[in-house]
């Protein structure tokens, strides 16, 4: 059964708000798309809708943090990161404002609404900013824990949350930590690193690879910054290559983050799967995943090519 991670986010946020009177929400008319209608009903005076004004949305959050509040900004990731990037840099990250930025409906989830509504650049944009933790949870459980971790952390966090339903890959025994990757499946032949909605596809690829006798290590790299250097280095040394899979441009995202570690600490072969530097054609998210080869079979194919490559 698939779950919408936005629901998990909204439920966790409401629980936090019950426990902490400082928790407030700032939106750009994005109440429905951010699933914070329930929050508004329960805490009407703690939701600030600044209108369709992303720069003001992020600046207002910095001001609320200055006043001692714990603001969560929830908005479509494409607009939050694209329109307000300088506010994210100056007002939040550089000012070290205790603000949690939540980019909703990230990646290509808006499908046929087109590239204006896709956020396949947000890892690259946010990952380049100092003092900003960047996280893309894989399922509801990880979303809940990431929201709690963000609230506990005193400083700026960007959470990238999908609107696409995903099956649970973590159970309640899982312990999320910023900067700590989770090895979902151990393996010795090849490594697949994924995050967000691509994690279930990576796990499906492992099944396909197993049928071919290839033992794949599957890593959920939810935190893109700071990236888990130790886990990447171990995978690079212990398996024959690394495939990265992300619902993002191949420029500057998860693949780049992993490659930066690999080239410096443990050079190995890599394949970086993502959107290859083009604006997507019209189509649903599922169609676009097929179109760009972000499927279990294509991930397995890339992994097989690394295993079969000459040493």
């Amino acid at each position: 059964m698939n779950h919408d991670c936005r629901e998990a986010f909204a439920q966790e946020l409401e629980q936090l708000a019950v426990a902490d009177d400082n928790v407030v929400v700032v939106v750009n008319d994005s109440i429905g798309s951010s699933k914070v209608g329930g929050f508004r009903e329960r805490f009407p005076s703690r939701l600030f809708n600044v209108g369709i004004a992303e720069q003001t949305m992020v600046g207002v959050a910095a001001g609320l943090a200055n006043a001692g509040m714990l603001p969560f900004v929830t908005s479509a990731s494409c607009f939050l990161t694209g329109r307000a990037l300088e506010q994210i840099k100056a007002d939040i990250a550089y000012s070290n404002a205790n603000v949690k930025l939540v980019g909703m409906s990230s990646g290509m989830a808006y499908g046929p609404l087109g590239p204006t509504h896709h956020s396949i650049e947000d890892f690259a944009w946010t990952r380049a900013i100092a003092n900003l933790i960047v996280v893309a949870p894989a399922d509801s459980e990880e979303t809940r824990q990431a929201v709690r971790a963000a609230a506990r952390h005193r400083g700026p966090v960007f959470l990238r949350i999908s609107r696409m339903g995903v099956p649970e890959v973590h159970d309640a025994s899982y312990r999320f930590e910023f900067g700590k990757a989770h090895v979902l499946r151990d393996g010795e032949d090849v490594t697949v690193v994924a995050n967000g909605v691509m994690v279930t596809r990576a796990l499906a690829a492992a099944e396909l690879l197993e049928a071919e006798g290839i033992d794949a290590r599957i890593i959920n790299m939810a935190t893109v910054r700071p990236v888990d250097q130790a886990t990447v280095t171990a995978a690079a040394k212990e398996t024959r290559g690394i495939v990265t899979v992300e619902e993002h441009s191949v420029f500057g995202g998860l693949g780049s983050a992993v490659a930066e570690v690999v080239v410096e600490h443990a050079p190995t072969r890599m394949r970086i799967l993502g959107v290859p530097g083009v604006f997507a054609p019209t189509g649903s998210a599922e169609f676009l995943f097929e179109h760009f080869g972000l499927t279990a079979s294509k991930i397995a194919e890339a992994a097989t090519s690394l295993v079969n490559a000459d040493a």
Partner: protein
């Protein structure tokens, strides 16, 4: 608790003397740094002087007191003026002003709240201060706290659309605890504002956005005190104070000249400027008595 000077309710002539002393200090600091924004520093110095020595409820010994008034310098390039005023108000030693823009100094060319006591948010790119001020004022409103938020913006800066987003939001939430002060010096980096993209009619614009608007001479200490004070009737609206100023105010050869936006004086120009400011510092102009 107010900063030490503010407690004593300084007279207009005391504020005048202080503002001119700080102008001299700022000019010398900028000369040493070899960089800075003198024109705006000088146009906003009287506003900053009135705020820090007469209006703001801030305590240099406890700069992060939750109940302090918030001041945000949206025109962050005038950090030189703000640093000078903060040092004179006791937030850090005046000797530190000599480090302005030196390698590894805390006093960057634009203010950094993580390094300098008394700074509320990091500014530099224009159009950032007012949205943050709106957020702070919303926080105080939600808490029913008495502290106020002041944002100083440049007039050229109002070409940034984010100001008008924030102006609408402030009006929507009836933020009577928020005051924006416009340093209306009529010049921006390259030219007169009117020759670039005119921002007038300012009073009508802010008024039509739902703000309570006052216009004052931005070099008249008494008028600034009155406009920025919380005394008297307070309409349930945010307040906009259009402070008419002169870029480069105080130094005759700098006044109303766009090139002094970020020009640095030569040794000879510095001497001339300091002499003129020293003379004006001790002047007891009739309107001040």
């Amino acid at each position: 608790m107010k900063s030490s000077v503010a407690q004593s309710s300084p007279s207009a002539s005391e504020l005048h003397r202080l503002a001119y002393e700080m102008r001299i200090s700022d000019l010398k600091m900028t000369y040493r740094a070899g960089m800075g924004h003198i024109g705006g520093d000088m146009s906003s110095m009287d506003i900053l002087t009135v705020l820090y020595f007469s209006i703001l409820n801030v305590n240099p010994n406890n700069p992060s007191d939750p109940n302090r008034d918030r001041f945000i310098l949206s025109k962050g390039h005038c950090a030189g003026a703000l640093y000078t005023v903060l040092a004179y108000a006791g937030f850090f030693p005046k000797d530190d002003l000599a480090t302005y823009m030196q390698p590894l100094a805390l006093l960057n060319g634009h203010p950094d709240r993580t390094k300098v006591p008394g700074i509320e948010t990091n500014t530099g790119p224009l159009g950032h201060g007012l949205p943050v001020g709106v957020g702070a004022a919303l926080g105080a409103q939600r808490r029913n706290a008495a502290w106020r938020t002041f944002v100083l913006v440049g007039d050229g800066e109002l070409q940034e659309g984010s100001n008008w987003e924030a102006a609408m939001t402030a009006s929507q939430y009836r933020l009577a605890n928020l005051t924006v002060i416009i340093d209306r010096n009529r010049f921006q980096q390259g030219d007169a504002v009117s020759s670039t993209v005119e921002v007038d009619p300012l009073a009508e614009k802010w008024s039509s956005f739902g703000w309570h608007v006052l216009e004052v001479d931005g070099h008249d200490y008494g008028a600034l005190q009155e406009a920025l004070s919380s005394d008297g009737p307070r309409p349930p609206r945010p307040k906009c104070v259009v402070a008419h100023t002169h870029k480069g105010k105080g130094v005759s050869f700098m006044e109303d000249r766009a090139e002094w936006h970020h020009r640095v004086p030569s040794a000879q120009e510095l001497e001339l400027a300091v002499n003129e400011l020293t003379e004006k510092r001790s002047q007891n102009e009739s309107r001040l008595s």
